[in-house]
Subunit: 138 residues, 2 copies
């Protein structure tokens, strides 16, 4: 048992989750007044809806990043909370159900790495923007 | 640092990967003559192509499960090896690129849980089938 535990412990998905967790902890410890982020637009085009609706503000990003951190640490997926957001993803899932399980495994592993890396950058960016707002140089 | 490491260590994605790794190790330790699995058809409909081509045999499954175990333990994605298999998944990925990052995170995490659980069952099933072939009762 020791060897398998040791190998999985060192894997980079584990490190990716730890890195994200650490970025969000820094964000939480730095941002003492999250309300200062209200109505501050995000500069990330990812935060604007495709239908050109209002962009998400940094306060919404702050809350989202904290919520994802809780899930990333426990790796439990709160399915009920996500039903409303699942329509587009469910449609995307259909062709995947016929896919080779090996390709499907790599697709999700790769996807998880990619989204965790983007979210880690987003946490750093919210932290930096907060320091800008309160006038502290990085 | 201790608390975050501890929390991520206990998470269920880690346990899911460990469970898979353990199922493949049992499979390897049990199957002393993998060549006995050649031309034994898999009973899993997942192993047949959508275009009704030949189904994958248990020997191919055995090799695939070992290859995925190596990737699951190191969590490094051998992109070059997968180029040929990526067409359908690439098409499926397009609508995901516009998705909310929170939904995308849950989609991949959920997908990874689901595929790892299916692959773990597949490893158990190959092991059991081998024991049937050599006439050992489970």
């Amino acid at each position: 048992m020791q060897s398998a535990t040791h190998r999985v412990n060192r894997n980079s998905l584990f490190l990716t989750l730890k890195r994200y967790s650490s970025a969000v902890r820094d964000m939480e410890q730095t941002i003492l007044l999250p309300s200062l982020l209200r109505d501050v637009p995000s500069e990330d085009p990812w935060d604007c809806e495709a239908a050109e609706e209002a962009c998400r503000d940094l306060h919404a990003n702050y809350l989202m990043l904290k919520a994802i951190r809780n899930t990333a640490e426990s790796s439990l997926v709160p399915l009920d909370d996500l039903k409303a957001k699942k329509t587009a993803l469910d449609k995307a899932l259909e062709p995947l159900l016929d896919a080779d399980p090996e390709a499907l495994f790599h697709f999700h592993l790769n996807g998880l790495f990619s989204v965790m890396s983007d979210l880690t950058n987003k946490a750093h960016s919210v932290t930096e923007k907060y320091l800008d707002i309160i006038g502290v140089a990085n």
